[in-house]
C-alpha cells in the first residue's frame, strides 16, 4: 500500500531514493536488529547496487545506516570517515545472488559484541525497502510499522504468549509471522505493531526461557 509520505518523501540527502535513502534504511534496519552500530560488517552488494552504487553514494549510505543515521542525516556524506573513527570495521564485496534477487539487494553479515546476525534486504524504489532474510529465515519486513524480531526455541504456545503480552499492554498487533528451521528447533517471529513496543515489554519478552534474543526495529518512514 502506498502512503502519502512514500510520495511526499523521504526527506533525504541525495542523490537517489533507491540507491541512497533505501540503502541507508537497509543499514539502519541491520543495526537495529543487532542492537546498535556493529563492530564488524561484511556487506555484499548485488546487481545495480554493485554496478551504479558508487556514483550514488550507496556505500556511504549503508555505512551511515549501520551507524544509526536516518536517510536525511547530512553525516552520511562523511560516514566512511565516521565509521573508521567509530571503529566499525567494514568490508564491501560484489556478490551475485542470482537472477531471482532484486537488482538492488544487499547482504549483511554483522557482529556487535558477541552477537552476530546475517540480513538480506533490497531497496524497491522511492526509498522503500524490504528485509527478506534474517539469519537464514525468510521474512518480509518493510519497516513501515514498528517491528519486533524474536528468535526463540520452537516450543508450543509461544505465539499465544507473545500476542497476549502485547495485547495486555494495550498495543495493537498489525501482523505476525513465524518461521522455523525445523520442528522443535529454532523459530523466528516478526511482529509488526501500530505503535512502538515499550522497552519494559521487550525486556519482559527477552526474559522468557525459550527466547534467544529480541530486537526492536523502529518505524523507518519518519
Amino acid at each position: 500500500m502506498t502512503g502519502l509520505f512514500d510520495i511526499l518523501g523521504p526527506r533525504m540527502v541525495g542523490p537517489s531514493s533507491s540507491h541512497t535513502a533505501g540503502a541507508c534504511r537497509l543499514g539502519y534496519v541491520v543495526q537495529a536488529i543487532v542492537g546498535g552500530a556493529p563492530d564488524e560488517a561484511v556487506v555484499g552488494l548485488h546487481g545495480s547496487f554493485a554496478m551504479t552504487g558508487e556514483g550514488h553514494g550507496t556505500r556511504a549510505a549503508i555505512l551511515g545506516g549501520l551507524l544509526g543515521f536516518r536517510p536525511d542525516d547530512p553525516r552520511i556524506r562523511d560516514s566512511q570517515e565516521l565509521a573508521r573513527e567509530a571503529g566499525l570495521d567494514t568490508r564491501f564485496e560484489i556478490v551475485d545472488l542470482g537472477e531471482e534477487a532484486h537488482p538492488n539487494t544487499a547482504r549483511f553479515a554483522v557482529q556487535r559484541g558477541d552477537d552476530r546476525v546475517e540480513v538480506t534486504g533490497c531497496s524497491i524504489g522511492g526509498g522503500r525497502i524490504r528485509v527478506q532474510r534474517i539469519d537464514g529465515f525468510p521474512v518480509d519486513l518493510s519497516g513501515s510499522l514498528p517491528t519486533v524480531v524474536v528468535v526463540g526455541d520452537d516450543v508450543p504456545g509461544t505465539v499465544a504468549e507473545i500476542t497476549g503480552m502485547i495485547a495486555g499492554h494495550g498495543l495493537n498487533l498489525a501482523t505476525i509471522r513465524v518461521d522455523r528451521t525445523g520442528r522443535g528447533e529454532r523459530a523466528l517471529m516478526t511482529i509488526e505493531t501500530d505503535e512502538d513496543v515499550p522497552a519494559p515489554v521487550l525486556a519482559e519478552l527477552a526474559e522468557r526461557p525459550w527466547v534467544h534474543w529480541v530486537r526492536n526495529v523502529h518505524q523507518l518512514n519518519d
Partner: protein, 309 residues
C-alpha cells in the same frame, strides 16, 4: 491511498469533501497519524523544498562528477528569457534542486530523488505570481500526493520500474494537478491536467549518464516542469483529453513494463550508452559499468539481470 483517480473523486462526490480533504482523511485513517501531524510533516516538506531551491541557486560548487553544479545559477543570472522571468525562475529552480541532490544535499524525494526538482519548481515559482499562501500549498501537496499514490499503485514511480516517464512524468502530473486545483479548477479539470501531462511524457526513457542522477535528469526536471504548467493551463481553459485519466496512467504502466531494461535506470542504453556517455562513465571511474556498456554495444548482450526494480 486511492487505487484510481476515479475512486478518489467518488469519495469526494459521496462525502462532499474536496480533493485535499479526501487525501487527508484517507492518510489519517491508514497511518493512524492525526491531521495536524500530517499537515506539519507536509509543511516541513515545503520548507525542505524551499531550502534546496535556494541552496541550489546560491551554491555553484560542482557535483563530485563535475557533470552538474552552477547551471541553475547561470540560467537565473542570464535573466528573464524567452517567456519572461517566471518561466526562467521555474527552469532554474528545477535544476537547482537536482544540483543539490547530486552533491548529496538535503532534498524531498517527490516522488523520487531523481524527479525532486519538478514539484518545488512549479509550485514555489507560481506561488509568487499567483499569491498562494503556505496553507494553500500544503493543500496542493495533498492533491499532488494523492496523484502520485495512484500512479504508484497503477503504474510505477521508479525509473527502474518504468523509465523516466515514471519519475519526472509522475512528478509533472502531481504538479499539474496541484496547480489546476490551486487555480480553482474543477475535479474534471484536475483529471484533465494529469492526463494532458502524462500524454506528453509517455515513453520517456531513463538513461542516466555514468549511472549518475545528473544528466539528463537535471534538464528533464526542467522540461517536466514546463509540461506540468502547459497541461494545467490547457485543462483550466477547458481543453479536454478524450482518454480517461486512469486509462492514461495504465498506459504509462504498460509502456514502462515493456521498456527494454537498458532504458530503465541501468545506464546501459540511451544517452548513457552513447560514445560520449561511455567516455564520461570512464572518466567518473565507473569501470564495471563501462565494461558492460562495451559488451552491450558490441554484442547486443542481454542485460536483463540489472532490472527492473
Amino acid at each position: 491511498m486511492f487505487r484510481s483517480i476515479g475512486d478518489w473523486f467518488a469519495v469526494c462526490e459521496t462525502t462532499g469533501v474536496d480533493l485535499p480533504t479526501a487525501v487527508m482523511q484517507t492518510e489519517a485513517r491508514e497511518s493512524g497519524r492525526d491531521p495536524e501531524a500530517i499537515r506539519a510533516k507536509i509543511a516541513d516538506a515545503l520548507a525542505v523544498m524551499r531550502q534546496a531551491v535556494s541552496e541550489g541557486l546560491e551554491t555553484t560548487e560542482p557535483s563530485p562528477s563535475g557533470l552538474t553544479g552552477g547551471r541553475a545559477r547561470r540560467l537565473a543570472d542570464t535573466g528573464p528569457g524567452l517567456l519572461g522571468p517566471t518561466f526562467t525562475d521555474m527552469l532554474s529552480r528545477a535544476i537547482a534542486t537536482l544540483e543539490v541532490n547530486a552533491r548529496m544535499g538535503l532534498i524531498m524525494a517527490t516522488p523520487t530523488a531523481g524527479a525532486a526538482g519538478v514539484v518545488p519548481a512549479v509550485l514555489l515559482t507560481l506561488a509568487e505570481d499567483r499569491g498562494w499562501s503556505d496553507e494553500q500549498l500544503v493543500d496542493a501537496l495533498l492533491v499532488a500526493g494523492g496523484v502520485g499514490a495512484v500512479i504508484a499503485e497503477r503504474a510505477s514511480i521508479a525509473g527502474a520500474g518504468g523509465g523516466c516517464q515514471a519519475e519526472t512524468g509522475s512528478a509533472a502530473a502531481m504538479a499539474s494537478a496541484a496547480v489546476a486545483w490551486l487555480e480553482g479548477g474543477t475535479r474534471e479539470q484536475v483529471a484533465q491536467a494529469i492526463a494532458l501531462t502524462l500524454q506528453g511524457m509517455l515513453g520517456l526513457i531513463c538513461d542516466p549518464v555514468a549511472g549518475l542522477v545528473e544528466i539528463p535528469c537535471a534538464y528533464r526536471n526542467a522540461s517536466a516542469a514546463v509540461n506540468a504548467v502547459a497541461a494545467a493551463e490547457m485543462a483550466l481553459a477547458g481543453l479536454d483529453f478524450p482518454i480517461p485519466v486512469d486509462e492514461v496512467i495504465d498506459v504509462m504502466g504498460e509502456v514502462g513494463s515493456k521498456l527494454d531494461v537498458r532504458y530503465r535506470e541501468t545506464a546501459l542504453g540511451g544517452l548513457a550508452a552513447t560514445p560520449a556517455g561511455q567516455r564520461i562513465a570512464e572518466q567518473a571511474g565507473m569501470e564495471q559499468l563501462v565494461q558492460l556498456q562495451r559488451k552491450g554495444r558490441t554484442r547486443g548482450e542481454d542485460t536483463r539481470r540489472f532490472g527492473p526494480s
